[in-house]
Amino acid sequence: MGFSVALTPENLFWCFVGVFLGTVVGILPGLGPAATIAMLLPLTFKMDHTAAIIMLAGIYYGSKYGGSTTSILLNVPGESASVVTCLDGYQMARQGRAGPALGISAIASFVAGTVGVIGLMLIAPPVARFALRFGPPEYFALMALGLTMVVFLAGKSMIKGLLAMLVGLWLAGVGTDLFTAESRFTFGQMELLDGIDFVVVSIGIFAVAEVLVNMESRGGTELFKVPRGIRNLMPTLKDLKDCRFAFLNGSVIGFLIGVLPGAGSTIASFLSYGAEKAFSRYPEKFGTGVIEGVAAPEGANNSETGGALVPLLTLGIPGSNATAILLAALILWGIKPGPLLIQDNPGLFWGLVTSMYVGNVMLLVLNLPLVPLFAQILRVPYFVLYPGILGISIVGVYSVSNSLFDVWMLGLFGLLGYAMRKLDFPAAPLVLGMVLGDGLERALRQSLMMSEGRLSVLITRPLSAAMICVALAILIMPLVNKVRSFRVKAVEQDV
């Protein structure tokens, strides 16, 4: 039934419009899918509802494909989930492998996006019921597990990684308190009452700081080497072979995290990167341009969209801004998402699911030919590229809330990012702390409220206890390794 709905010329056309718009929106930093869906929502009132939801969903998952482009080419994360892609993607671009990085990103997105849709189709209702067992203690444990990814992002000094993460957690708390509406750390600035937007921080400490580092010396005519020939601009068979587990890891982690309302694609991409590094044969190379470091988070980011539609369609619970607007669209059209959606509107449900298969194929066909074209951006002389990156950064930050205050903050975070680079502090843990800080604090305070202040609530529930045990194991692992290496050294010295 789904194919007969999705493959009508009208629905195919709107699917293409959606994924094309999504790709464009994903490439542009700051302009997210939620804002685009909201802007286009009034235009859908006169459309057929199935065609409209196919188009809006196309924008949602299409934006995930485009998000990696600026991360890989310019170190400008277009959205929070693309931050992890900067770590290895940008390093690959610096080594003349921007093409393979962009290519593997598109392929990982396709594979994981398709796995996410299969998951949505086959196991949606039981998985959604399982997700409902997540209360505040489980969410706290999940966020804590996410924070332990600092172990894999800290680089040479764990202390510095933890310090950067704590600064990120503090930044997440700037603004109005979630429960009491009291202002915290706003320095008397009205603009800070809403908090600091993630885009401002990530673009500042990644993109602006990178430009400042590159300004230190006069460059050549080209910023990076871009190899000639289409073959050198695409992933090789070896690349694909190296990434086979990354595809699987990204697909599974992305889908499972996506099902949990509020967890989001950022935590999925961080967890997937951490898992890939933990089980890699060469974890020490991560962050220097390893292709699996691009495939895993990009896969997770895309598989998450299939997962995120599970609670939306089967329970009527949105897990993110974009799915909240999709929910609003369904309600505005008079459709009630929930357990009866499949029964009451089979054409819409199966049409949407099947259109996501078609949309993923369209996105692969649309994105792969663009790889050589995008890679040519790096041929632009450095003295044009740097002001261009700064211009894109300003546009990206300003378009979030049309605020010049945010642009000032961008400059300040650019300087902070530069200082962090000079002082050998890793930037990714700061971003990790900032992304998870809000959810972590909310879940912890809710847990303490429901248990009347008893911290034991975090370890007496099986799911949260299991996740906290895993988190502790991940945290203790480097210490154990360090003690072991000290012992080995001591024995060697004795000998």
């Binding site: 040479k156 310090l163 503090w170 009491t180 700064l390």
Partner: protein, 152 residues
């Protein structure tokens, strides 16, 4: 130099941690709903202070040995700070001159002051970027960017 860097980082972050904890103490630790707005920042401040002390102690006893120990050239840092100052100046001009002209001035400044290219190159880059951004972001995508007195 690397030791100084570590000490400086530790002292700055330690002071920041003390500040965060001190400010958090001014907020209620407990509210009628449970933990108050000061609860989380207080622990963050304590964590920052303790870890900074650990960083300082580890550095003093020589257990951290950063690989990147070569001293940073003052000229290199100076160039980056000049570029950053140009960026901040351009941000300051956004309100008065609009995005297009501010970006053009920033590009011209970077090309002339940092890259020492000819004025013609600077002018070409400045106008090319300003026009390109206007065409893509304003005309094609309909984004609203800060506009100067002449409407762009």
């Amino acid at each position: 130099m690397s030791e100084k860097k570590e000490l400086l980082s530790g002292i700055c972050l330690g002071s920041f941690g003390v500040y965060v904890a001190f400010e958090a103490l001014k907020l209620p630790y407990v509210s009628e709903f449970g933990p108050g707005p000061g609860f989380f920042p207080l622990w963050i401040g304590i964590g920052l202070t303790l870890l900074s002390l650990l960083l300082i102690v580890a550095n003093l006893f020589g257990s951290t040995a950063p690989e990147n120990s070569k001293s940073q050239s003052r000229t290199a840092i100076g160039r980056a700070l000049v570029g950053w100052s140009g960026l901040m100046l351009a941000i300051g001009l956004l309100h008065w001159l609009g995005f297009g002209l501010s970006l053009a001035l920033l590009a011209a400044f970077l090309v002339l002051a940092l890259e020492k290219r000819s004025p013609w190159v600077a002018i070409s880059v400045a106008f090319g970027l300003a026009l390109g951004f206007h065409a893509i972001f304003v005309l094609a995508l309909g984004l609203s960017l800060p506009a100067g007195p002449w409407g762009f």
